[in-house]
């Protein structure tokens, strides 16, 4: 709801335009444009401290291999290169105490020729993390003519780090054609066995009539 204090400075402009339209609380200072900027700067250190601390721990350990995409209340988003994902996940499990994966989502970006796979990590055992969701996003190469399992669209599986990704990764494999190396059971899950079309959640697979 109140995601505005945590925005990157580059997005400030669009934020201010928006705030005048649909955020009555943030719209108050807008009559004085000179006053908005210091006020916005003042809000900058108000990044949620706990979440920021967690994100800093990851960036300290891995340096340039990771980038923080956002820090919001209870949510942290980290972008990781595909070769480092396994290490970051192990670090999140062993040091930060995340113990299971809630969801694995694949998002197709045909214009970037990449497919993003997003893991949402959460924790049952650590009470300080019970509100937190850590989002690890990584991108795999995308091929125009996919041969699922036999092309360059590959990632290293997290099954040996988080056992709970087993069925989620199978779903991403069939829906987007991302093959997970090291996954013990890379079979179809929801689609029929004789499905011979494109992986259906890719953007170039169109629904009839739409």
């Amino acid at each position: 709801m109140s995601s505005d204090p945590e925005k990157e400075p580059i997005e400030k402009k669009s934020e201010e335009q928006k705030s005048s339209e649909d955020k009555p609380a943030a719209a108050k200072p807008t009559p004085k444009p000179a006053a908005t900027k210091p006020a916005a700067k003042k809000e900058e250190p108000e990044l949620p401290a706990f979440e920021k601390g967690l994100a800093d721990k990851i960036t300290e350990k891995f340096g340039e291999k990771t980038t923080v995409s956002y820090v919001k209340p209870d949510r942290i988003g980290i972008k990781v290169g595909k070769d480092d994902l396994h290490d970051v996940a192990e670090f999140a499990r062993d040091v930060l105490n995340y113990d299971h994966v809630e969801s694995v989502a694949g998002v197709d970006y045909p214009s970037d020729k990449e497919i993003e796979v997003v893991y949402h990590l959460s924790s049952y055992t650590d009470p300080t993390l019970s509100r937190q969701v850590l989002e690890l996003a990584t991108r795999a190469q995308r091929e125009e003519d996919p041969i699922p399992g036999n092309d360059a669209t590959k990632l290293k599986s997290l099954r040996d780090v988080f056992y709970s990704v087993e069925f989620h990764e199978r779903e991403v494999f069939e829906m987007l054609g991302v093959y997970f190396e090291g996954h013990p059971d890379n079979r179809r899950l929801l689609l029929p066995e004789d499905w011979a079309d494109l992986p259906p959640l890719r953007k170039d697979f169109r629904i009839k009539g739409r």
């Binding site: 009555p24 809630e102 969801s103 049952y124 399992g149 056992y163 929801l190």
Partner: protein, 378 residues
Amino acid sequence: MSSPTLPPGLAIQKADERIMTLNVGPQHPGSGHMRIVVQIDGDQIVACDPDPGYVHRGEEKMAEYRNYTLNVPHLERPVIHDSCNILYPYVLASEELLGLEIPERAKYIRVIASELNRCIYIQYWLAIYGIFLGHSTMFMWPAGDRELLIDLMEKMTGARVTHSYFIPGGIRNDLPANFEDVCLRQVNYFEKRIKEYADVFYENPILISRTANTGVLTRENAIRLGTTGSVLRASGIDYDVRKKEPYDVYDELDFETPVLKDGDSYARSRIPWLDMMESCRIIRDALQKMPKSGSVRVKLKPNPKGELGSVYKRIESGRGALGCYIVSDKKPEPYRVKLSVPSFRNLIAMPHLLIGEKLGNMPSIYWSLNYWPVEADR
């Protein structure tokens, strides 16, 4: 039709003299709309491979072609009996993307609708659980008592099952006149009724002998497999999103989340029943604290555009934590909608629990997982 190369992971199996392979489902009434391939040695299950997907309808793909409001009626289809709860995370996430602040009264009405729906779902599940254990009274009673709450939902939303009641910006319509009194009376009577289930079902020695100590999921495994909802809380972990990460007005309401330690089928079947009693408590509390008048929805511009970025929201449904991940690219339609549903997350526990059990225990373990195939397939 013949494929020279098998897809990765697929293998042709040779017949075994001792092990028999059985297809349970997809038409078998004991498995719902899914197939479970079990291998049995005598009557002991030695291998189990769940095969969902018979009711996959591509809800996530469809959501990429419709705008934020038009997605509401079809995204509730995966669990029509719990339609308010499956829409809840989607609506919360789209409100954050569209930058909407919803009125206080709408938040309370949402909580009431969500809890009524939770009871309706659990009653439906309980009826099926009862009939598959051969207890036909336990089919009739919940199926009948469920009607009380369905009538309430009909008064509230105009539809008996598929309500489409939650929309980005609040709820579709305000409560009808005199709703509070009717709701309070029905819920009080409903609570009295469900307490009677103890005598006929939950303290029935035959039920206990069939479900206690079967399909035991230990605390460690419940965490490792990432299970959720009643399966998790039956294994001794107190995790309920309503308490741990309160959404809307759950932090202002007074309720407990039941936890049991045994982790067997009996504990898993007991948790939803205890949940219903807490739901009655929440509804009574919410009716009292709710603002008596005020607006219930924010007017949206036609085809509102979500701000650039992604949002992950989660709520507690009748089966467990339900998450929704929306990616937006500043278009009226979301770029990607992902539903992380509890049934799909609990599916991984199924082979884990069934291996080593007798085939006769399969229905009780399967249904105790609170698994809803249509939801898992989306």
